[in-house]
């Protein structure tokens, strides 16, 4: 019994510390965003609550935040959707069809996911420049899809392979083609897994930095991560209030998504990892 109370107190202390560790920077971020001045932690400056930072970020078009938000959402949603579709097709083929090099394809995907982005981005820029696609959505969407495909493929293969083959046979007996089997049977049954992959793909696309940094040069095409990273003040004074407000607005949907879909996200990551 003494062992279990010791264990309990250890566990709960650990949990408190863990929560503190994870959330402290956010609390600070939020505090600064609601403060008139970023230096409220110094002895001289008190904390004064204000919503001005949020107002500025959302309404001041010279800050371009709404443009960044729109771009990020559009690019992330499209990339995630197309990535899931393409990965589903390939995952279906790998788990259900007989063709030479099935396993090779999976390991090829794994190898590709280990490539350093910097080894791709230079030439990618040259290519985009040559076809005039710099500062367009497709300049980011297409590389994003390619970049997220390997992990999506692994996770979907892991989910699809848990669906019994008998279901496919039943579908064939009922007259389905391969395509119909995938769309009417496999995808609905694997829906939770497909959704997890969509979530993960969205998160990856949304957070991506290097490609967005190199393949966009003006605010019209920029995404949020780049926008916030390059947010400098006009007079050498970094506008921390605005930056933190923008950060809060950006992270809020992500935080809500994570709180709601925590199980899905973890499920997707673990099935991908266990296969690895």
């Amino acid at each position: 019994m003494k062992d279990s109370t010791a264990r309990n107190s250890l566990t709960y202390t650990g949990i408190v510390l863990a929560l503190l560790f994870c959330l402290l920077p956010f609390i600070y971020m939020a505090a600064v965003s609601f403060s008139t001045r970023a230096d409220f932690l110094t002895v001289e400056t008190p904390f004064t609550f204000t919503l001005d930072n949020f107002r500025a970020v959302l309404t001041d078009t010279s800050l371009h935040f709404t443009a960044y938000f729109r771009n990020s959402m559009l690019i992330s949603l499209v990339s995630a959707a197309i990535c899931v579709a393409i990965a589903s097709l390939a995952a279906y083929a790998i788990t259900r069809l007989e063709f030479p090099g099935r396993m090779l394809l999976l390991f090829f995907a794994l190898a590709v996911s280990m490539f350093p982005q910097i080894g791709i981005v230079g030439y990618l820029y040259k290519f985009m420049a040559s076809v005039g696609w710099v500062n367009t959505p497709q300049a980011l969407i297409l590389p994003y899809i390619a970049w997220i495909l390997p992990l999506s493929l692994w996770i979907l293969v892991s989910y699809f392979s848990q669906i019994p083959r008998e279901l496919d046979k039943a579908a064939f007996m009922d007259g389905c083609t391969y395509r119909q089997t995938l769309i009417r049977v496999i995808l609905p049954v694997a829906a939770p897994g497909v959704f997890s992959v969509f979530l993960l793909s969205f998160i990856f696309a949304f957070n991506e930095f290097m490609f967005a940094l190199m393949l966009t040069t003006n605010y019209k095409a920029r995404t949020i991560p780049v926008g916030i990273a390059l947010f400098q003040g006009l007079h050498g004074q970094t506008p921390w209030g605005n930056i933190m407000a923008a950060s809060v607005i950006t992270t809020l949907p992500v935080v809500i998504l994570t709180l709601i879909f925590q199980r899905r996200i973890i499920g997707g990551l673990t099935s991908g990892a266990l296969k690895g």
């Binding site: 008998e166 064939f172 007996m173 007259g175």
Partner: protein, 363 residues
């Protein structure tokens, strides 16, 4: 629909090994017949069913439906399952978990692009036949095993198939439900009159359901016949042991020097003429004498044609008693009525010589 399987062989090739699943199988299934493929696991019965269905391609040989070839590698002919108008009931039912019962049954018709009205009529008729009309809105996860099976069968018959294929559909049900479903299936088939091919490893099921049974072993057909034929006149020791529970006794014996009797562990047993002829046709002096436990009676000492045996164990099963005896080295099972025998008792066995079967010794 008359199904003819001609010289069918199936081989599986993989990197590591080469398996022969079926070897030169010849089968004729008459229209409206309930035909059972019976055998132990690995004998190829499911593979054969899959080939009839169109889920597998034969390596050699052909399958014909009413004279039209549906699978013939040499003629480069292969019809997909949906082109053959066959229906399949899987061992684990393979119901679509995300669809309701109604949608499950309607699925094949929707894929075939039939109109809503005729789909609705067909589904309702199929459901009524199986007695599941009140389950339309339920999902498979909420159904019992028996209900799921009925949905699977309804889905199969809704398209009015020419051939009805079932792969061990009752093996996942508990014993009582199995007996119930067996009767229902038999009546259903009689009512619908669809040619049915049924795979099972359970010989009781096979005997009860089939018009004819094909016994398979290691990819080859051991014997085809009606249940009674298989029971009374098994063609091989395998069939003899497989059909009937408890299985037929196969007692090693030799021909006596004067060729008039069988010698079992130094005891003589005079055999009737036709059996002696069969024995003399054997390649060697040794052979197997087959006799079912229920065709042996325990008699008092001294009767003619009685074999002396020693009791090894007794199983009292309520309605009947199984007595395991040894004659010399051979173990024999006898079906007796009473159980007042003990191990090491001496008993005398009288064989019903008209029911004896003669087999060659297995290599």
């Amino acid at each position: 629909m008359r199904v003819v399987i001609d010289h069918l062989s199936k081989e599986f090739h993989s990197l590591r090994r080469h398996t022969i699943a079926l070897q030169n199988v010849d089968i004729v299934i008459e229209d409206g017949e309930f035909y059972v493929l019976l055998g132990p696991s690995g004998c190829g019965k499911s593979t054969l069913l899959n080939i009839i269905a169109g889920l597998e391609r034969p390596t050699r040989g052909s399958v014909h439906f009413d004279g039209t070839p549906v699978a013939d590698p040499s003629g480069r002919i292969f019809l997909e399952p949906k082109e053959r108008n066959v229906a399949f009931v899987f061992q684990n039912y393979a119901l679509y978990p995300h669809m309701t019962v109604y949608e499950n049954i309607a699925f094949p018709l929707r894929i075939a692009r039939e109109d809503k009205a005729s789909i609705s009529a067909a589904v309702e008729q199929a459901a009524a036949t199986l007695g599941i009309s009140d389950l339309f809105h339920a999902k498979p996860a909420h159904l019992s095993g028996g209900q799921r099976q009925r949905v699977a069968i309804a889905r199969a018959i809704v398209r009015k198939p020419n051939v009805f294929l079932l792969d061990e559909p009752l093996s996942n049900l508990d014993a009582q439900l199995r007996v119930l479903m067996r009767t229902e299936l038999k009546e259903l088939q009689k009512r619908l009159g669809i040619t049915t091919v049924y795979v099972t490893h359970d010989q009781v099921e096979a005997m009860s359901l089939g018009h004819r049974i094909a016994v398979l072993n290691k990819g080859c057909i051991e014997q085809v016949g009606t249940p009674q034929q298989l029971y009374d006149s098994p063609a091989t020791p395998f069939v003899a042991r497989f059909i009937g529970s408890p299985p037929m006794n196969l007692i090693p014996a030799t021909l006596s020097s004067d060729s008039h009797a069988a010698v079992i562990a130094d005891q003589n047993l005079v055999l009737p003429g036709e059996h002696l002829a069969a024995v003399r046709n054997m390649p060697g002096p040794r052979f197997l004498l087959g006799i079912r436990p229920e065709h042996i009676s325990l008699v008092i000492a001294g009767q003619a044609a009685a074999l002396k045996a020693r009791v090894k164990s007794v199983e009292a099963l309520g309605r009947e008693t199984l007595v395991h005896v040894s004659i010399g080295e051979a173990m024999v099972t006898v079906l007796a009525e009473s159980a007042d025998l003990r191990p090491d008792d001496t008993v005398f066995l009288s064989l019903d010589l008209s029911k004896v079967c003669i087999f060659a010794t297995e290599a």
